[in-house]
Symmetry: D2
Subunit: 137 residues, 4 copies
C-alpha cells in the first residue's frame, strides 16, 4: 500500500518534533488535527488564498465544524510525514476535505474534516467568498 499517485492530492511535508510526541513515545493523536490543518493552510496558500488576508479583506473566516479521524500506526520523533489534502465536497458555505498522513508507504492517520465559512466575530455562517470558490473549481 502506498500513497495514491495518479489522483495526486496536494501534499505537505512535515517533521515530527519533541513537542508533537507524548509519553507513549509516539505522536500524540490530537496533534494529527494540527498536522492536517497545516496541510490545509498550505493547500489554500498554494491556491492563492491566505487566511489572514482573506479575513482582513472580506471578514470571512473558516472554522472546523466536524472531524473524523482514524489513527492507524504510530509516528515517532524525527519521522518525516507527508500529509495529503483532497477536496471531497464543496457547498456554498462548507467544504469537506479528506486527509491522510503517511510516513513512506505507511498510512499513519486519515480522516475527514468539515469546514464552515463564518463571519469574523459573530461566527454566523456565510457563503464562501468567490476569491476562494473560484480557485476550487
Amino acid at each position: 500500500m502506498s500513497p495514491p499517485a495518479t489522483t495526486a492530492p496536494y501534499r505537505h511535508a512535515l517533521r515530527v518534533y519533541w513537542e508533537d510526541t507524548d509519553a507513549g513515545g509516539v505522536v500524540f493523536y490530537a496533534n494529527y488535527l494540527k498536522f492536517f490543518e497545516r496541510a490545509r493552510t498550505e493547500w489554500l496558500r498554494h491556491l492563492g488564498v491566505g487566511q489572514q488576508a482573506l479575513r482582513e479583506s472580506t471578514g470571512a473566516m473558516f472554522v472546523v465544524t466536524e472531524t473524523k479521524l482514524r489513527y492507524r500506526a504510530p509516528a515517532r520523533l524525527d519521522d518525516l510525514l507527508q500529509v495529503t489534502v483532497e477536496l471531497r465536497h464543496r457547498g456554498s458555505a462548507t467544504l469537506t476535505i479528506v486527509q491522510q498522513a503517511w510516513r513512506d508507504d505507511t498510512l499513519l492517520a486519515e480522516g475527514e474534516i468539515r469546514i464552515g465559512c463564518v463571519d469574523d466575530g459573530t461566527f454566523r455562517p456565510r457563503r464562501i467568498p468567490t476569491e476562494v470558490t473560484s480557485t476550487l473549481a
Copy 2:
C-alpha cells in the same frame, strides 16, 4: 437544552486558559480532544484506575484509535466547561466512549472516542486488564 441529568454521566470541570484559545478568539477545536482526554483520565481515576500505575504493573496502555467530533458553539477565555464521559461499549480490547463539552446549558462540542488497549512499547493489541474491566461492569 441542558446536560442530561437522569443518566448522570461522569463530569469533569475545567477552565479555558490562554493556551486553549486561537486567533479566532475562541477555543482551538483540536483542544477539545485534550479536554475530552482529561475527563476520561479523571473518570478512570475516579474508578480507581491510574494509567501510569496500570502501565507499570501490567504493561498495558490505552491508545486512541478513532475520534469523531462535532464542534457546535465557540468557547472563550475564562469559560468554565463541564466535560462528560459515558461508556457506550466495552469490548475485550476496546472501549467506545461518548463525550460532550458544555458551558452552562450550551453544548459546545460532542463526539465519540474509540480506545484500544495495547502493549507498552510494541503497540500490539491486547485484552484490557481485569483490574480495569472489573470497574466498568
Copy 3:
C-alpha cells in the same frame, strides 16, 4: 526542602495528562509556561480579576514580555503538581512574578515571569487598570 509555608504564596493544583508529556516520558519543558500561566490566571481570578472581563471593560490585556525558567526535576503522567504565584514587583505598567512547580516536596521548575499591560489590538503599553492594582496592594 519543601514548599515555603510561612510566606504562603498563592497555589494552584493541576494534574499531568498525556497532552503534557513528551517522548522522554516526562512533562515537556515548554508546558511549564502553560502551568505557570494557569496559576497566574487563577491567582488573578482569586483576587477578583477576570482577564476576559477586564479586556471587555477596559481594553487592557496582559502580555508576557519575559520568561526565565529553570527545569530541575522531571514530572510524569498522573503527577499532581502545586504551582505557586508570588508577586515580586509591581510597576505602573508591568508586573514581575516568581513561580515554582512542586510535586510533594520536590521542586520541579521555577522561574520569573514579566508581564506588561497593553492595549488590546494595538499592543501599546499602558498603565495597569486600577481595578487590578487595587487588588495587588
Copy 4:
C-alpha cells in the same frame, strides 16, 4: 535592524498556523520555545545528528535545563519566521545556545537555552557523545 548576516548563524524557516496563535490574535508566547526547539533539531540534523538515532545508539538524550526568553514584537497567523541557532558555549555535558525569531527585519523573540545531556530513562547527567561534540568543533 536586521538579522546578522556576516556571522551567519544557522536558520530555520517556519510558518505561523492557527495552532500557534491565541485569543490575543498573535502567537502564544510559550510557542516560541517550540519554534526554538524545531530550529535546534534541524540545526543538529544539519550537523548530521538525529536525536532519535542518537538515543537508540548511545542512550543519550538532550534535555532543556534553562530557558530565558524576551518577547519583543507579536507575530500573526500566516507570518513566515526565521529562527536562528548559535552555539554560545559547549561544556562536556551542557550546551548553551542563543536563538532569535525574526519576521523580515523585525526581531520577535530572543533568548538563551541551556541543554544538558542525560541518560535516557534515569535522566542522570552524562558527557555529550563524541559523535555530537565532533560536529560542534
